[in-house]
């Protein structure tokens, strides 16, 4: 198996034992190191220790990253990985990575992390990286393992490399798994605002009156400014801005006068030539961003 240096190769390794994991992961990284590629291991602390021991003296060529607590929200996790890959790609023209994905125990959130795996294909499509995500077959429910085949173009299972016939276009998968937003009746209008500065002043007053922590106020101002500016430039102008608390979170909705867009990966694409970075920034700074059409107009909902 060779590495196409022009773009991402995103595979999954489904293993049944620690020995099988090491037997695949270690030679994979060593082959890359031998060829002058960078090597990254992103795992929990025990996983890092296991890989470090197995790599022996070659461990000094590998960047070890503890991702035990990196999986909080997909956009933030992508940004964290992006930073790691950027650091490695400053040193080597290409990289190989073994990454452990933390799905967690709650079936209600598994779709979110399957969405993360799907969007990874688009987010880092431009990077000269070969990333193998590892899954313990014995510790992963069938639904998660099915998601592995839907989100990785190639899967290594029982020592076999297979092209996944169940691989799903990331846009289609996101449309299928990301729930449609429900209307929120608790929000109130603060007016459309004259421009970005006026909008920020109005929004800041609402955030402070609501008791939002200081550090989050600026996060929300930056994130929502990106969306407000998009609405002015590409959405035919801002029709209304609505804010308030819903389900315990501060929410800002920006309604514009345009047709809107249908791009489920908007804001998940890592910075590169030809890709706007506003929504990438906005997603990192907030809990959730949703886009939908409503009778009021095309709406961006930003939840803090």
């Amino acid at each position: 198996m060779s590495h196409r240096s022009e773009g991402l190769r995103h595979n999954a390794l489904v293993y049944e034992s620690q020995d099988e994991f090491l037997a695949r992961a270690v030679p994979f990284l060593l082959e890359g190191i031998e060829a002058g590629e960078g090597a990254v291991v992103a795992h929990t602390k025990p996983g890092l220790a296991m890989m470090r021991d197995a790599l022996g003296s070659d461990a000094e060529h590998v960047m070890f990253v503890d991702v035990g607590s990196a999986y909080t929200r997909p956009a933030r996790t992508l940004a964290a990985y992006h930073k790691v890959y950027a650091e490695q790609l400053e040193k080597t023209p290409t990289l190989r990575a073994v990454a452990d994905v933390q799905f967690g125990p709650d079936p209600a959130e598994w779709d979110l992390w399957t969405v993360y795996e799907a969007v990874f294909n688009r987010s880092f499509a431009h990077l000269p990286a070969w990333v193998v995500c590892s899954y313990n077959a014995n510790g992963s429910p069938d639904r998660i393992l099915e998601g592995v085949w839907q989100t990785h173009p190639e899967v290594i299972e029982r020592e076999m490399w297979s092209t996944s016939e169940r691989y799903e276009d990331p846009d289609d998968l996101l449309r299928r798994l990301v729930p449609s937003p429900e209307p929120i009746s608790e929000l109130g209008s603060i007016g459309a605002g004259r421009d970005e500065e006026d909008f920020r002043e109005r929004l800041a007053r609402e955030l402070l009156a609501d008791g939002v922590p200081e550090t989050q106020v600026l996060d929300m101002l930056l994130a929502s400014t990106e969306i407000y500016a998009n609405a002015r430039q590409h959405g035919g102008g801002v029709e209304d801005v609505r804010v308030g608390r819903a389900e315990g979170r501060f929410v800002c909705e920006i309604v514009d006068q345009g047709e809107g867009f249908d791009d489920p990966t908007a804001g998940y694409l890592a910075p590169r030539d030809g890709v706007g970075t506003g929504l990438w920034v906005a997603r990192q700074l907030t809990w959730r961003i949703e886009f939908f059409r409503s009778p009021a107009g095309f709406t961006a909902r930003i939840s803090l």
């Binding site: 602390k45 890092l48 220790a49 607590s69 929200r73 964290a80 959130e109």
Partner: protein, 249 residues
């Protein structure tokens, strides 16, 4: 301290406030769930490690769970968080139990790290952050984390420690440090990235920790025109934006 039982809504609001970085909420969340964390820790009791460290791992697990918990999914918080608390404890136990072997280079880097940390402590009378340590030592953050992991050794349990008291976590800074460590490179306070004048303008204009002021008022305070204050603000916001949008290649 005996905590009153929270309603579902109070618990949701507390978890969200903690997730948003509210230090008081983090403290209250920890105090509320500390007995439950301590009860889980009982299952890990051993003379191979320090019970206090186990509880701290549990607290980190709890705060991580708060960062990730989606209340709209209707899973009770402790039902969700207990998995991450237990996992954090399991990882600590595995980490302390494993044998440590270092390459020659790692030994040299470790010596460099210790020397840098000592020099910083002497110069600043404070612990360096990971970023400061990285800058001063020339080691990357990942290298520092790797070396710090290898520094750890099995510790004996101190019978004098009361299981439910975490002395180190009484300091607000300790909570914040746990929060900062939770996500790689995720900034808790963006204004830390600004220079002093930019910080003054942004904080005053948007009422961060002070009364919200107009650009005219801020300009007068700094001896600038309102337009110049506005330019400084725009530059500051662009700087923050660009910092979060650096391409990898």
């Amino acid at each position: 301290m005996v905590q009153e039982r929270l309603t579902v809504r109070q618990e949701r609001d507390l978890v969200i406030a903690a997730e948003c970085g509210d230090s008081d909420a983090c403290r209250e969340l920890v105090e509320t769930f500390l007995p439950a964390i301590a009860a889980l820790a009982v299952g890990f009791q051993s003379n191979a490690f320090d019970q206090q460290e186990l509880l701290q791992a549990g607290v980190a697990g709890l705060l991580f769970a708060a960062r990730r918990y989606d209340a709209s999914l209707d899973t009770p918080f402790w039902a969700y968080a207990s998995f991450w608390v237990r996992k954090a404890m399991q990882e600590l136990v595995a980490d302390l139990a494993r044998p440590v072997s270092l390459s020659d280079r790692a030994v040299r880097d470790l010596a460099r790290l210790k020397k840098t940390r000592r020099a910083y402590q002497q110069a600043h009378r404070a612990e360096p952050t990971t970023e400061e340590l990285s800058r001063a030592s020339g080691l990357t953050r990942a290298q520092l984390e790797s070396l710090e992991a290898t520094e750890r050794a099995p510790r004996a349990m101190d019978d004098e420690l009361a299981a439910y008291v975490i002395v180190d976590l009484d300091a607000e800074q300790a909570y914040q440090q746990v929060l900062d460590d939770l996500e790689i490179g995720y900034l808790r306070d963006l204004t830390d990235e600004l220079d002093e004048r930019e910080r003054i303008v942004v904080r005053a204009h948007y009422g961060l920790g002070e009364h919200q002021q107009t650009l005219d008022e801020i300009g007068a305070r700094l001896g600038l025109t309102a337009e110049r204050a506005r330019q400084i603000e725009v530059g500051a916001l662009n700087k923050l934006r660009e910092g979060l949008a650096q391409p990898a290649i």
